[in-house]
Amino acid sequence: MGKIVGGVTTSHIPAIGNAIANELFEDPYWKPFFDGYPKAREWLAEVKPDVAIVVYNDHGLNFFLDKMPTFSVGAAFEYENKDEGWGLNPLPPYPGDPELSWHIINSLVNDEFDICSCQEMAVDHGFTVPMALLWPDQTQRPVRTIPVAVNTVQHPLPTPARCLKLGEAIGRAVASYPKDLKVVVLGTGGLSHQLDGERAGFINKDFDLMCLEKIVDEPEALAKYSIHDLVRLAGAQGAELILWLIMRGALGKTVSKIHSNYHIPISNTGAGLLVLQSAA
């Protein structure tokens, strides 16, 4: 049987990729951020997941406005990272698990989530930065991956309530997988930030800390917000909180908090990290 062992949520800011490449782990600006991750990695080493379902948003690498699916699930043998326009060297590809992907796709559609399936899917910093934070050694790929991409580029974005339900449906899909396999779910992005407009640089610490608390035991409280509420309270790109809600929905009713970290600012963002373990 498929089993979701827990979830990790983490910010996925592109600047983190640069900081990793330049090994700025002890740099005073970066240290309070990077110091949050060893505990998350220890937990992963303990639970030893076989597969990571990575819920993220594409920032204009794989999808353009010509076709903008709301929810997409990868079904490839391998996912490539590519140049996002900044000339950085792409990271080595990530192995997929197409058999589990198709099981999830079948289960989701049967569950009335009409997602887009992708046999080719380039993954951007929204996917690669969290993977690099959690599994830093780029010469090894100890987990297979299934990217789940959510439209946060073009409104209307899916509602927080819908996202929590999609997560629950992903949880049911994994639980009905006939093979024995351990799955961790990553929810990437957030927390509050806004890159565009005269309101650029908006960060809302109180709201972020409230989200880090509520998402553990009361995700329904966060699912009550509208997207417009999230833009107002967390900034235009803070709406990425919906990705965290998908992760949370997949973990089931009861979880225990293993670890969290929060630091302002990383780039223009309130950077959050949370490790949750599913009930046995």
């Binding site: 204009g60 409104h155 890159l195 565009d196 005269e198 640089g201 417009h228």
Partner: protein, 117 residues
Amino acid sequence: MASPAGQEPIPGTTIFDGRMAMKGYALNKMCYSFNEAAARQEFLADEEAYCAKFGLSDEQRTAIRDRNALALLAAGGNIYYLAKFVGMLGLNVQDIGAQQTGMTVEDFKAKLKAAGN
């Protein structure tokens, strides 16, 4: 400050909805092309010709020429695609944040830091 119908506008924020996505299509398509190194070189070699190739409006061409982030947004640009344009020019999101808020980059960074207090 555009918001979808029935939603209270959020100051300093344009919701990138269908209306903006239609308005900015050519501009965003050009910026999306900058994922490819060859496209970046082609743009830098002859900006005007590259803008013409994608059919940018006069408003969009002027905003590109001026490297003006607020004007690019007003012309329908989406921040994620624009990030590829400004990244190609060697600017980061603090540089762009400072430009949009009329602050120096140092002041903008200080404002971000102060949000943690």
